[in-house]
């Protein structure tokens, strides 16, 4: 275990313990409350549809669920596999009133999107869920030998079963990196909060990975980036999963001017990942949807988190924390740092 992780954890040990004790109870309660709220909204016709999570078809998975009728509301679930950032669907639902289930990070995306005027103010009803941090299904899969056929959560444990094994894993050790450092788990903006706000503390120092990475030489850093991006298959899943990627024409697809080729040459893959990440400067909520979507398991959040960190340090800005402060790259301060300019 990382040393900083340990320090952080011991600092928040009490909060963590209380949370763990109530996990089972709160998950079930949240699920019931989501259903209740969905029923209420639909029966009042306050929304056209609810987007939440339903049971996935594979172990360790939940799936986005679009619900329009009261009968379907019982299919809504809540557990630690509800990893998708559902706000990405809003772009194709501009004519509808949507009830949206949001975690802390998803709600931050919504605030960032509202800065960019992506929807009408009364178009959304946010069902906010204080998040217990999501489980990294790939980490779990890699921790056991053999195929996982069933999985469920029990308290702070994940119980996975295969043909000839049953393994109990500590939930806390199998969280997404973006979730481990999260300090905005309770949605900042929500029309209703299902569940009590959770105490905000990181399990690992939020920017620990970036600090470690920065200690490496430029050559090593580039090598790492090169290796990661070389696996890219240009499926655009990172782009499509990201709620902030909605350009009518992505720079990748532009034919005039043509910024880059569509093949797999290493420089084009690097180009794509640099610009995709950089375009999130001051807009990324750090939800990690890009990394989770990648079928080739490319590390992506170490890029966006760096940008988040820089924006915090340079402009004291965090995405989606308040609805008033404009995004950092759309404004300026006369006193902004400029010692890098000759």
């Amino acid at each position: 275990m990382l040393s900083s992780e340990f320090v952080v954890r011991s600092k928040h040990i009490n909060a963590l313990n209380t949370e763990l004790k109530t996990l089972n109870f709160s998950r079930a309660m949240i699920q019931e409350k989501i259903r209740e709220k969905a029923r209420e909204l639909l029966s009042k016709k306050a929304v056209d549809l609810i987007i939440g999570f339903g049971e996935g078809s594979l172990p360790l998975r939940a799936t986005p669920l679009f619900i329009r009728s009261l009968e379907e509301t019982d299919r809504l679930i809540w557990n630690s596999f509800c990893e998708n950032n559902l706000s990405t669907y809003l772009h194709k639902l501009s004519q509808f009133k949507v009830g949206l289930v949001v975690k802390g990070c998803d709600a931050r995306s919504i605030i960032a999107l509202s800065h960019e005027k992506r929807f009408k103010p009364d178009q959304l009803f946010l069902i906010g869920v204080p998040c217990q941090r999501m489980v990294d299904r790939r980490r779990v899969k890699k921790a056991v030998k053999g195929e996982i056929l069933r999985a469920h959560e029990q308290g702070d444990q994940i119980i996975v079963e295969g043909e000839d094994f049953k393994t109990i894993l500590k939930r806390e050790d199998f969280l997404y990196p973006s979730c481990q450092g999260c300090i905005h788990r309770t949605p900042i903006k929500a029309d209703v909060l299902v569940g009590d706000p959770v105490e905000e503390f990181p399990l690992i120092e939020t920017y620990h990975e970036i600090e470690e990475f920065e200690k490496k030489s430029p050559e090593e850093r580039w090598k790492f980036f090169e290796k990661e991006s070389s696996r890219c298959i240009r499926c655009d899943a990172c782009r499509e999963a990201c709620p902030m990627c909605y350009c009518a024409e992505c720079f990748v697809d532009s034919s005039n001017p043509k910024w880059m080729e569509k093949g797999l040459s290493p420089q084009d893959l690097e180009f794509y990942h640099i610009v995709r990440a950089y375009h999130q400067t001051g807009r990324c909520s750090g939800c990690g949807a890009c990394e989770r979507a990648c079928p080739m398991e490319i590390r992506l959040t170490y890029l966006t988190q760096k940008l988040n960190w820089d924006v915090k340090e340079l402009f004291d800005f965090e995405t989606g924390i308040d609805a008033e402060t404009p995004p950092p790259l759309s404004t300026y301060e006369i006193e902004d740092k400029q010692e890098f300019i000759k």
């Binding site: 669920l65 669907y89 056929l149 696996r231 499509e240 080729e261 093949g263």
Partner: protein
């Protein structure tokens, strides 16, 4: 007669293959991520994953492939085609589902009127050493799609993992040329029997119950069904399912230029991309994800069967495993089969 290859002889066997052939086999790029690559050293080969991320089709139909290079001198262009394959090739470790898929896209690329030389040349030069699938995964449904974990069609040789050794079956003429391979020994009766047991166990494990019969006919009447609107809702429109699909074969042709020289390249393309059928005028016959998802499903289960008499899905399960939103084609198939058609109301 059946043969066996001791695992201690496996690396020397690969080494010997590489003398004569370009060897393509699964290589791990990162933990849990593997693809087919041309092998430089035998220890690169990694057969531990149940299947690669990118399918075997990539060896014949690379994601990005140069078709020709050109160089401009004055007003002339010297064109150099890259269609020829210089060395014979071996693919090692391809799973039966992927091999089935190769047989499917063979039909597209060979074709009656036009032959896609880039694909066909590679295909002709290649011997396929299949790897029987002893541990099919739960999202696999090859048995429902006219295949199976030990399906032999398309493999020139088939390896069956017996633990200490591989049982080797020589299945075609190309395969028979390996008969005299010095690493192959005669298999014992008990080894053949244990292979049979493994086969039975694996076959039982895959889902053969998916109701695909008659799906083509049903889809004939579903073009304008509200079904598509519903089924596409959670799809975010990325291309994972099409790029990782062993039967998807759409491509785009583009020029890449550097001042006076350049190349024509073909890259995989996907019907789920909005640009796929967008015309220069701006008109897009498939403007939303509804039409694009419909195209994906229709092509596999209706158009392809109409042209080639077979469903263009082999049940490898990749689109299910890697989908970021857990879009499950098995459910889609079931929903299509259970949907109420206009004339049945």
């Amino acid at each position: 007669m059946k043969w066996k290859l001791d695992k201690k002889d496996f690396k020397p066997f690969l080494q010997s293959l590489m003398v004569e052939y370009d060897l393509f086999a699964p290589v791990q790029l990162a933990e849990g991520v593997s693809v087919y690559k041309k092998i430089d050293r035998p220890d690169e080969v990694d057969l531990s994953s149940s299947n690669t991320q990118k399918p075997t089709k990539e060896v014949f139909f690379p994601q990005s492939e140069t078709m020709f290079r050109y160089e401009k001198t004055g007003n002339q262009h010297q064109v150099t085609s890259t269609e020829e394959v210089e060395r014979k090739r071996v693919i090692l470790g391809a799973r039966p589902c992927d091999i089935q898929a190769v047989l499917l896209i063979d039909q597209v690329f060979s074709g009656k009127e036009y032959t896609d030389v880039y694909y066909v040349n590679k295909r002709k030069a290649t011997t396929i050493i299949g790897m029987a699938c002893d541990h099919p995964l739960s999202p696999c449904f090859c048995s429902s799609m006219k295949g199976g974990p030990f399906h032999r069609e398309g493999s020139d040789l088939l390896l069956i993992d017996l633990g200490e050794a591989y049982l080797v079956e020589l299945l075609t003429e190309k395969g028979m040329t390996f008969q005299k391979n010095k690493f192959f020994k005669e298999a014992l009766a008990k080894e053949i029997n244990s292979a049979k047991e493994i086969e039975e166990r694996a076959t039982k494990k895959t889902d053969g119950s998916l109701p695909v019969a008659g799906i083509e006919k049903r889809l004939d009447q579903m073009m304008e069904s509200p079904f598509w609107e519903r089924v596409q809702e959670k799809c975010i429109g990325c291309r994972i399912c099409t790029y990782l699909c062993p039967t998807c074969h759409c491509f785009d042709i583009v020029d890449e230029a550097l001042t006076n020289k350049g190349q024509r390249v073909r890259n995989w393309d996907s019907c789920l991309s909005s640009l796929y059928s967008q015309e220069t005028s701006g008109h897009n016959p498939r403007p939303t994800n509804r039409e694009r998802t419909r195209q994906r499903i229709m092509h596999k289960f209706n158009y392809f069967p109409k042209n080639f008499d077979r469903i263009a899905c082999v049940g490898c399960g990749r689109c299910i495993i890697y989908c970021p939103v857990n879009f499950d084609i098995r459910q889609t198939i079931k929903e299509i089969q259970n949907s109420i058609l206009q004339n049945e109301k």
